[in-house]
Amino acid sequence: MKTSSAFSSKVLEIDTEGVTQEIEQAIRKIVFHRFRRWGAVVGLSGGVDSSVTAALCVRALGKDRVVGLFMPEDESSEDSLRLGRQLTEALGITSIVEDIGPTLKALGCYRRRDDAIRRVIPEYGDGWKSKIVLPNLVDSAAYALYSVVAQSPTGETRRVRLTAESYLGIVAATNFKQRARKVVEYYHADRLWYAVAGTPNRLEYAQGFFVKNGDGSADFKPIAHLYKAQVFQLGRYLGVPEEILRRRPTTDTYSLEQSQEEFYFSLPLETMDLCLYAKNHGVGASEVASVTGLSVEQVQRVYAMINSKLRSTQYLHLPPQLIEKVDEVHADTVG
């Protein structure tokens, strides 16, 4: 583990030009030379991560070799499509809208999710909205037990702790959204002989904030090594529209608006970024506390939470496990 001598919020500052060039070269090498594909498909959410990923692909491969996909569904925010269009216009790339709502309905995504919610809120039904949220894991020792927050058509809100069965049912049904999008991305990648770009930043990648074989699936992930603050810096450097840079990161997965903080990270992403960096570089809790404004105990809980997520999300990162190594395949794909 590396040790930091002077920890401050400036540790996340990067040489945007240098980093951009490095990623551009890597994308060209991966897509053209290793994959021998002709371009890249990027699913666009109207957020900064997918915008920066698309902008980097354009610089690396050329605007005629990048396709942006908008994949709204019945519960998507209208902002996602509007902001996504601002980006594709700015980049000058082809964009395609694929409404995945009917596919999700056919798969029973909404019905199965609502059935799972009704296990804890029997009256939940048409016209209701919902999201799932975590308790505050930073201020006191607590388990990461999710609750559902449901809003009735008349605006009354209820918060109920989920049972294991209802929690797993909601997540399993909701994961159809990320997986359906990936199916569409690979359809276009296959027909164009392109590769699929994944869009996670380091917080998401390291902390397992993705759906296995959903948004976690991709042929390459060009910003997975970058902290969120660094993605914003690249966004500014690459000319990502200001409104996208100012938008608060949301999951855009549940019908009630849900921040990534309440769904997964428990802290503002700026603070989580610094804590993850500090932990990765062996910075002590007291030093992190003085920079972030958290107490030493809070930083220790955040460190424990990071470790816990690293451990519990290992499964998401693992490829299919073989009983024996298949040498002839492995020799061709590594390197």
């Binding site: 308790p135 006191s140 020792a141 607590a142 388990y143 990461a144 037990l145 702790r161 989920l162 049972t163 294991a164 929690y167 797993l168 816990s308 451990r311 519990s312």
Partner: protein, 106 residues
């Protein structure tokens, strides 16, 4: 005195028949943990005082499952604020928590 100390102190003064009952509860919890989280493969080193969390035995889904097992088995209601590591992070802690809840119910 924090909650854990209060619980330990309360246990130290429990009469013998209650202690016996507690061992029975601990044994049931231990069996549940071994069956569900250790897949029946517990070795002799697994102690009733081992932290579930520090040993990576139980994640949040596991805790939920354990909470639901305890709730149904002992017919006790468990409030959100009671689902904290002080009460649920080892076989002994869970047994003591159940004992306290059953005592309060009696």
């Amino acid at each position: 005195m924090d909650r854990a100390e209060a619980r330990d102190s309360a246990q130290a003064t429990l009469p013998q028949e209650v202690m016996f009952h507690m061992q029975e509860i601990a044994q049931k919890i231990r069996c549940f943990v071994i069956d569900n989280f250790l897949f029946g493969e517990a070795d002799d080193h697994f102690s009733n005082d081992d932290s579930f969390f520090e040993n990576g035995l139980v994640d949040s889904i596991g805790i939920l499952t354990l909470v639901e097992f305890v709730r149904d088995k002992y017919a006790i209601s468990i409030e959100d604020e009671e689902i904290v590591p002080d009460n649920w992070d080892s076989v002994s802690r869970v047994a003591a928590f159940i004992q306290t809840k059953l005592g309060a119910k009696a």
